[in-house]
């Protein structure tokens, strides 16, 4: 995020594009609600009526899979109606003309049938965004989990560039990063193309710095994104590029990757699968070796929260017998493989990393402790450097210090609906549970609030057509697999579009999702695939299946289910 979470409530306008704060980050949604209370305008773009849409001035309820067409049209209106910040464009940006060539073609009238939004609403939204200052854009997986994700992110940034909404308080564009340390994992270089601090592995000078620091030559070949692993195990185009070992540390690809059937097949076939985690999870059933590590609360370190905030977290309880801290396990394996790695504590690791990353260098443990946390970049260790609340002040990080415009044509998602699979499936988060659910699934209260098989949101018109009642169990199928779910009859989703959350084992929507990837980010198209619904005549059988199958899966995870009574009649 270019801005800080605390800035959200000071925005004059929030463009809430493909982001559902209420379910992903209730405390960030709090800021959006406070902004609204303080008079901010809100434009919400989402195929469903999410919480932000409910309180928005304008809700563009677009058809799924048409993001770029809409953003191009919004840019078109800002350009044709001359609502731009000409001075900012002249002084602070490049490639504006090439950008205009593309968006010229996307008039609201052309785009309206694609997005199913009236031209007037597109014009109204564009004008509101362009003329209300300061304006910020918040986006989430509704943008990223598409085949054309990176293009939409760049074109959204174009909107901010056109209107000078950068480098000032409460402006900019922000992907609200999902998990507690997903920003941190990127910061630390757990990416196939970047060292820590977003330093590219193909930059010779940078690579030499790391080679000198780590004392070994380093490869400059961009590595594999994890979404390519199933293909590289099962059907490598080039046998020499086949993956034979998969070291899964703190993840559950067998639950949260798309097309789980393919993932499970790959895990079965892969020669060596290592799982290092705190809980047995679905991938663990395919692991050749399992390494138990300490849980949150049993070790310390630094997390990066969604707006680049480094924050210290602390050890509070001793871990159970036989469990080791993650970095200790990895160091021991490394040493046993001939590359000695030894640290006494996390501060040593953190300081080693800081010396290699100029933009993080100033974030000492002392400073994090004293201030409660700093948003990077924070370059000087001096206490006066309290980090950076918002980015791009004065200039952009490109070599010429300018923001670069970028535009391209919209293309539809890969797997369109047809007569055989007539419904669009959109997937997302459950507010009361978290990701693979190995933590919240073990919390009795959160489990009582919501449990298997989870819900599938279906519009009342579709419910009527399929003869479904609220609460019925139903079977959903795609080209890749099937699962059961419980019908939530709601007009918050449009006719022809259904929505599921991905936390569930029985209602495992990732049995259905399409692994089609964005060519640049390699993120799968979770938000759009085509499915069909099959009503279940024998609801008693279905209710029984949910209970017994859930018990069987828990038993396969080593849970003693003997005490549980017989299935529901």
């Amino acid at each position: 995020m270019t801005m800080g979470v605390q800035e959200i409530e000071d925005a004059g306008l929030i463009l809430n594009f493909g982001y559902n704060g209420a379910d992903s980050h209730p405390i960030v949604q709090r800021r959006i609600i406070r902004a609204r209370q303080k008079g901010a305008k809100i434009i919400c773009v989402d195929p469903r009526v999410i919480e932000s849409a409910r309180i928005a001035d304008i809700h563009l309820q677009l058809k799924g899979g048409t993001n770029l067409a809409l953003v191009n049209a919004l840019c078109n209106v800002i350009y044709t109606e001359g609502l731009m910040d000409e001075k900012f464009i002249r002084e602070k940006t490049t490639d504006f003309d090439e950008f205009v060539e593309v968006i010229k073609k996307y008039t609201p009238e052309d785009v309206s049938p694609i997005c199913r939004i009236s031209p007037e609403d597109i014009r109204k939204a564009a004008r509101l965004y362009a003329t209300t200052k300061p304006a910020m854009i918040l986006y989430g997986m509704g943008v990223c989990q598409f085949g054309q994700a990176v293009d939409v992110v760049k074109t959204l940034a174009d909107m901010a560039l056109m209107t000078g909404n950068f480098g000032k308080p409460a402006t900019g564009i922000g992907p609200v990063r999902g998990q507690n340390n997903v920003q941190g994992a990127c910061d630390m270089g757990a990416l196939p193309n970047n060292y820590p601090g977003y330093q590219s592995i193909t930059d010779d000078a940078v690579r030499e710095k790391f080679e000198k620091a780590w004392g070994v030559p380093l490869s400059n070949k961009v590595g594999l994104p994890l979404t390519h692993v199933p293909r590289r195990v099962l059907r490598p185009e080039d046998p020499s590029k086949q993956i034979h070992a998969y070291y899964i540390f703190g993840e559950d690809p067998a639950q949260t990757d798309p097309d789980i059937n393919e993932v499970r097949e790959a895990l079965e076939k892969c020669d060596l699968v290592i799982l290092q985690d705190i809980f047995m999870n679905r991938a663990g059933q395919y692991a050749d070796v399992v390494l138990p590590s300490t849980s949150w609360g049993e070790h310390e370190g630094v997390y990066s929260c969604c707006d680049r905030g480094f924050q210290r977290f602390h050890k509070m309880i001793e871990p159970p017998e036989g469990v080791k801290v993650d970095w200790q396990i990895i160091s021991e394996i490394s040493t046993a493989m001939g590359y000695p790695m030894h640290y006494n504590n996390t501060q040593e690791i953190w300081d080693e990393m800081r010396r290699l990353c100029p933009s993080f260098a100033g974030a000492t443990y002392e400073k994090l402790e004293a201030t409660g946390g700093v948003q990077w970049p924070c370059r000087s260790e001096d206490m006066s450097d309290k980090g950076t609340v918002y980015l791009h002040k004065g200039k952009f990080s490109n070599p010429d210090g300018k923001g670069r415009f970028y535009a391209t044509d919209w293309r539809p998602p890969q797997e369109l609906t047809d007569t055989e699979y007539p419904l669009i499936l959109n997937t997302g988060r459950e507010v009361g549970h978290y990701s693979a659910r190995t933590m919240t699934g073990n919390c009795r209260l959160l489990r009582s609030l919501e449990d298997e098989p989870g819900w599938v949101q279906i519009n009342p018109e579709d419910c009527l057509e399929y003869g479904l009642e609220h609460g019925d169990l139903v079977r959903l199928e795609s080209r890749r697999g099937w699962c059961l779910s419980r019908v939530s009859c709601t007009d918050r989703t449009s006719p022809g579009a259904v929505f599921m959350t991905y936390q569930w084992w029985i209602g495992a929507c990732n049995m259905l999702t399409n692994p089609n990837l964005d060519p640049v980010s390699n993120t799968p198209e979770y938000k759009y695939c085509s499915v069909r619904i099959e009503c279940i005549e024998d609801q008693a059988w279905a209710e029984n299946y949910v209970v017994t199958e859930y018990r069987r899966l828990r038993e396969s995870m080593g849970i003693d289910v003997s005490g549980e009574e017989a299935a529901v009649q």
Binding site: H470, G471, D472, R486, Q539, A540, E543, V568
Partner: protein, 185 residues
């Protein structure tokens, strides 16, 4: 989803005129097969015993009948286990009843009565000759296609078949909409 709570019939004293059509319908429907009670005159061969009871006060009149309680005192009290739950509705198996009257005493609504049991117009006799008596109450016309006869026959629609879970959802939705109006405070 499986039905969670028992349904029941409730009267609206504003609409009820005390005409007792409901009582007659209830008696007729429960004695058609067993005692040949038809719709025309002359087929009433047994005493009229309805399972809902019209009550008239100075300022009100409304029938009262079983609520099919979720923690039913009659079911809990019946040592013979003649009262059980069928699809969440509390049903008395009149063949098992010994006539001990515990359920009558337990029911706070007073809607369980004891009466002679008739078959094909004649009272059933015990081995020693006394009449067989059994407890009986509203069974929501279990198995009757059109549902409770009293609700169907009431000329003023004063009786309503209540599915408490569904009705509650509707009432909560309306209450939520009210909160959108009163949010200014």
């Amino acid at each position: 989803m499986a039905k969670q709570l028992g349904a029941f019939v409730v009267g609206d004293s504003d609409k009820c005129t005390g005409c007792k059509a409901c009582e007659l319908a209830c008696f007729t429907v429960h004695n058609q097969k067993s005692n040949g009670v038809g719709r025309t005159v002359g087929t009433v061969s047994v005493p009229v015993m309805p399972r809902l009871f019209l009550v008239k006060g100075e300022t009100f009149s409304v029938p009262v009948q079983c609520k099919h309680c979720e923690d039913a005192p009659c079911l809990n009290a019946c040592t013979k286990k003649a009262i059980s739950r069928v699809d969440n509705q509390v049903i008395i198996d009149e063949k098992k009843c010994m006539g001990c009257k515990d359920c009558m005493m337990a029911c706070p609504f007073g809607v369980i009565m004891l009466a002679q049991v008739y078959d094909r117009g004649k009272v059933l006799r015990q081995t020693t000759g006394e009449a067989v008596k059994g407890a009986f109450k509203c069974d929501l016309c279990a198995g009757r296609e059109a549902g409770p006869a009293c609700v169907e026959v009431c000329p003023h629609q004063a009786l309503r078949y209540v599915d408490p879970v569904e009705e509650r959802k509707e009432k909560m939705r309306r209450a939520a909409e009210t909160l959108a109006i009163t949010k200014t405070l």
